[in-house]
Symmetry: C3
Subunit: 133 residues, 3 copies
Amino acid sequence: MPLTQISIRKGSKTETQKRTLFNEIYLSMRETIDVPEDDRFMTLTEYATEDFDFGRHYMNIARSDDLILIRLTVSNTRSADQKQALFKRIADGLVRELGVRPEDVFISLVETNPENWSFGHGIAQYAEKALPT
Amino acid sequence: MPLTQISIRKGSKTETQKRTLFNEIYLSMRETIDVPEDDRFMTLTEYATEDFDFGRHYMNIARSDDLILIRLTVSNTRSADQKQALFKRIADGLVRELGVRPEDVFISLVETNPENWSFGHGIAQYAEKALPT
Amino acid sequence: MPLTQISIRKGSKTETQKRTLFNEIYLSMRETIDVPEDDRFMTLTEYATEDFDFGRHYMNIARSDDLILIRLTVSNTRSADQKQALFKRIADGLVRELGVRPEDVFISLVETNPENWSFGHGIAQYAEKALPT
């Protein structure tokens, strides 16, 4: 169910690196917040310099043009601990597999009700599960 | 007030089909969740294969390259029943009017407070309505 | 922490105007909702006519092709008054500095928990602050 939107600078990642990026974020969700197999829905957009604005020093974190901005939408069923584990796992994975600087991993999480998802056929699959049958 | 973000594969829809897509989503919201006339704000983005990653079998739903990923942001004033009616109406409409496979309609809904919208002039119109005058 | 996504018509703003747009939104957040210095994370996307659909008269507000659609994601720590001040400040700033019509400023705000942000290093910085040390 997680929906992932990735924003990077134009030309900062190769096709292979993008593939790795998708895979690492998916694996991170699998390992920390109980995301089922094949539950991956992600888009990536590249921005020209003039269309991508970010604070290079906010919180004394030195960001570079390699900044990866990750927006996640997930159901509101995780604990604060799980979310912290997710953030750590994503950053660790991108550092290890892509050579990204840990300063360049920005994550924003938006939570929604489980009933707010339809994975096909116009059915709210997670709501259906909660209903008596 | 709904804000709609649509993601598709590059080249998978003609200009006419995009127009139909916008119209069907708008009509679905009109008919199921009390969206007023002309309240339509939507963007559509096409993604190259390397920038669009999705599970082709999650929940045993067989998705194809025609996948339409729809993100909706709406006020948090609808019942679960209304949201389920919305999902069904969108999928039915896209199947009927665009020949889309029902497996290829993915919807994610994010809800916000009514006071969180400004439709122009820097005014939070829905908050204003709630205030004593 | 605010994450800002701006949508405009293709070619409706120059590079200099985009810079002003980013700056005015940032300054508006600084002045009305206590956003810290350098806390700015924004992307801008231009849409072809066929990919950008909006109601030209919703709420009797006459929108033009210069419409600026602004999506903000912020922590859920602001009052309704602060959010109204933010909307007003953004519209006033864009009118004053860019010559935008006030009818053409659309804002949608999504709120999340403070613990839902990681600004780097895989740490949920706002959650950490709330924890005993």
